[in-house]
């Protein structure tokens, strides 16, 4: 097990193994996405209050889950990178950032589209919306920092520190925003208050969540492969694969 992990952490093996996984993951993503969308958009019954417009939830909720999940994964990888100095971990962190930011943006946009007919406004300063927006800022700050530093290795390590600081702060930000909102806003907009969701809606939702996870895995591996190639472009094994660079 450990031997396999050590092998996997070397860029060369990672490149080879991930290349084998990506097509499988890609197909699994497509299949689960189709099944999830079919059951979500066609099979699931309309909501008794919101009619059909609730169906955006099948995109919105998994995207919101992913936005937080990816940040936590980035924090884990940054920790691994800072403690054990494993290059592959920082490749994964850097490759995840844009995906995490995209999922956050997707969650915000879909939420906003849903909010217009339901709440009558594109945006309300609701606690959850605000913390999601701040999460987007954290992602964008990370991306800005990493792209501002010339040296890749330094960039990844500096970004790692920022991510870890962010992960300590996220619960604080989240609860302070929640507290701020409950104090400031008198007549609160009722959220999609979690009723015990019916199975016919829950199952497509979970399938979509699985699909989004698979999508993330597929794309992050593809991005990581390119990042690895770019970093190792002067090493022997890359030259062997692609011939000599200029």
């Amino acid at each position: 097990m450990w031997k396999f992990l050590h092998k996997l952490a070397s860029p060369r093996y990672f490149y080879a193994i991930s290349g084998k996984f990506i097509p499988w993951l890609g197909w699994l993503t497509a299949v689960t996405l189709l099944i999830g969308l079919y059951f979500g958009l066609v099979k699931a019954p309309p909501d008794y209050q919101q009619g059909d417009s609730y169906r955006i939830m099948f995109i919105h909720v998994p995207a919101a889950w992913m936005s937080m999940f990816i940040y936590v994964m980035m924090a884990l990888w940054s920790g691994i990178n800072l403690i054990w100095n494993i290059k592959l971990a920082d490749v994964m962190t850097v490759s995840s950032a844009t995906l995490g930011a995209s999922f956050t943006l997707l969650a915000l946009v879909t939420g906003s589209l849903w909010g217009k007919p339901m709440w009558g406004a594109w945006w309300v300063w609701d606690a959850r919306l605000t913390s999601e927006l701040i999460l987007l800022f954290l992602y964008l700050g990370y991306i800005a920092l990493v792209s501002a530093i010339e040296d890749r290795r330094t960039a990844a390590r500096a970004g790692g520190v920022l991510i870890l600081v962010g992960v300590v702060n996220i619960p604080i930000i989240h609860y302070s925003v929640e507290w701020w909102n409950t104090l400031h806003q008198g007549p609160t907009v009722t959220k999609l208050d979690k009723p015990s969701i019916h199975l016919s809606m829950l199952i497509p939702l979970l399938i979509m969540a699985v699909s989004f996870n698979l999508y993330y895995l597929t794309v992050v591996l593809m991005r990581a492969r390119i990042e690895v190639l770019d970093r190792e472009r002067r090493s022997a094994w890359v030259r062997e694969l692609f011939g000599r660079p200029e």
Partner: protein
């Protein structure tokens, strides 16, 4: 260790007082931003009184950020920072000395100026007292959190805007609790809860931030 802490703090304070002109800049900045609000929004007393806590605190956030930007700059340029990294003393302690010295010359004057700004925005007396209290706890917190961002961007040429992007989201809890305390005090409500929360954030930052700053410096200066 304590000796090194004291020596570094003395040095930084001395350096600051040799450049007295620069000391006034963040203060002027603080004053000017607050002045813009009555001009830009409305000079109406009721409205000003309502937005005063937010205005003063946002001005304080920005002033803290701009003054922090140069925290490690000159030390980085003349190589003193590298000597600090190489010294046998724990870097986190040295960094804490620098942040503390910086707060004494930038945060403390803001604290002295805040009542004046409160009067300009016609805040009631209890609100001014609460403002002082929140600034006293909050500005060191701003310095500590901000220093992490400064340490991460120290080697970069265009660090200023980037610093703002990195640090602003992390300042949000401080802003929320501080302005809330001031607003509550103006309405005659107890503010112990908000103050305790700010104080606990300060304790957390005092323990963890120096470590993060030290780690960030080691990465940036290499």
């Amino acid at each position: 260790m304590i000796q090194a802490f004291n020596a570094l703090m003395k040095r930084d304070l001395l350096l600051a007082f040799r450049h007295r002109g620069e000391l006034a800049n963040p203060l002027l900045f603080f004053l000017m931003i607050v002045t813009l609000f009555p001009l830009g929004v409305s000079p109406e007393v009721v409205l000003l009184r309502k937005i005063a806590p937010g205005v003063i605190w946002i001005a304080a956030l920005l002033a803290a950020l701009f003054s922090l930007e140069s925290l490690f700059r000159s030390d980085f340029e003349d190589g003193a920072l590298e000597q600090m990294l190489l010294s046998p003393q724990p870097l986190a302690v040295l960094v804490l000395a620098k942040v503390l010295a910086h707060w004494l010359v930038s945060g403390l004057p803001m604290l002295l100026m805040a009542p004046l700004l409160g009067l300009l925005l016609s805040m009631p007396d209890p609100a001014i007292a609460a403002l002082e209290l929140t600034l006293a706890i909050g500005t060191p917190l701003l310095s500590l959190i901000g220093a992490i961002g400064v340490a991460l961007t120290v080697g970069l040429r265009r660090g200023g805007v980037l610093l703002t992007l990195l640090i602003m989201p992390l300042y949000i809890p401080v802003l929320i609790f501080a302005t809330n305390a001031v607003t509550a005090a103006a309405a005659g409500m107890p503010i112990a809860g908000q103050i305790y929360f700010l104080a606990s954030l300060l304790v957390l930052a005092l323990t963890l931030a120096p470590l993060a700053i030290a780690a960030a410096l080691r990465i940036s200066v290499s």
